[in-house]
Symmetry: C2
Subunit: 208 residues, 2 copies
Amino acid sequence: MSHTLGIRQAQKQKTRQALLDAALGLLEEQSLSSLGLREVTRAVGVAPTAFYRHFRSIADLGVALVDEALGSLHPMVRTTVSAAGDGDERIARAIGLIARHVQTHPAHVRFVARERHGGVQPVREAIRDQLARFAEEVKAELAEDPEAAGWHDDDLLMLAHLYVDQMISTASLFLETLEAPDAERERVTQAATRRLRLIGIGRLHWRD
Amino acid sequence: MSHTLGIRQAQKQKTRQALLDAALGLLEEQSLSSLGLREVTRAVGVAPTAFYRHFRSIADLGVALVDEALGSLHPMVRTTVSAAGDGDERIARAIGLIARHVQTHPAHVRFVARERHGGVQPVREAIRDQLARFAEEVKAELAEDPEAAGWHDDDLLMLAHLYVDQMISTASLFLETLEAPDAERERVTQAATRRLRLIGIGRLHWRD
DNA sequence: TCATCCAGTTAACAACTGTTCTCCAGAATG
DNA sequence: CATTCTGGAGAACAGTTGTTAACTGGATGA
């Protein structure tokens, strides 16, 4: 089904992506609710009015950014959590995934952490929905595990949310070490590892 | 040392507090980085230039808000965590404290959750410092516990941070139920209880 | 009582904001 | 080829922003 886009739609998508990229860059040192439409178009080198050809408002652009930041992450999470190995291996793999993702997409991670509780309602809701999807997916993977025998559905979902929260918290910690020496990153890795280990231990002895 | 303030300093503090209150109100539906100085003074009914008599900038006001929101909370946390009782009692008391605080100071809680990863660096740092203080205090209380025997200092601090993170996460969940029926709040209470219970179980079996 | 202080006011500045309307060049369509 | 469609440009709108300077009137302290 590879259909070559007309050169018209191609240009449009190019401009749209430029707007998204410019916005993401500007959001490194401010919140979405203070991001100006003119500010974005100026950074792209396009007339302010062109913005409306792609987004109804800044909030609309924010929702699109949420999709870009989290939408493509679902398969990665799924395979990472589901892959075999003993507990500590799985923990190391998950934290490695997070560390790598923060290194390669710092602006996206910062955006999500910032706007999760930010001042723009539609964006908050979009993030909340995506995180709930992650939790459902993690729960589905946990349910496959032999250790999940005899667990209530509610408890599994609770545990999944706990894991998702930890992922975000860890990502946010890695974010703060971006310009720090490697030793700092190592410290965060160790601390996150022990957190997940403690949660894993709690999981093992839950049924009492 | 109860020294009656001159009517001059009294008026000044009154205006300052009015600015803080107005800002907190306006921040319910936007982020600090988009809050305007004129917006705040307008809400108070005072000239824009009067702002500079109290704060150097909006970021400065934000730091003051952090102190107001978290500064007076340390004794409450300390006594709640330290008080006796078995595990489940302690959990119930902690969650009760959070639920009550969110009900009585929703704007403060929202502000902290929002600006913790927000777009204003000095405010982020102020919040980070306050939360680190909370973690140190929780760690000190955990160390008093007989169950803490044989624990490394690093591990105790890790656990304390985990608890502090849970408090904030729980507070943020309660925030979302502010205008919801009681049943929603009950659901959050139960979910948070099970989270803390699982962490407590992990704590019991940590030394292996 | 009188000089000093200082929280708050007024006025003005250039720069910025979101949004509307009109227009145009060039791709798409037939 | 001629027509329609559309992403982007341009100009103008009223309103907003932070910051400066000079000023006022009532509390303060000698």
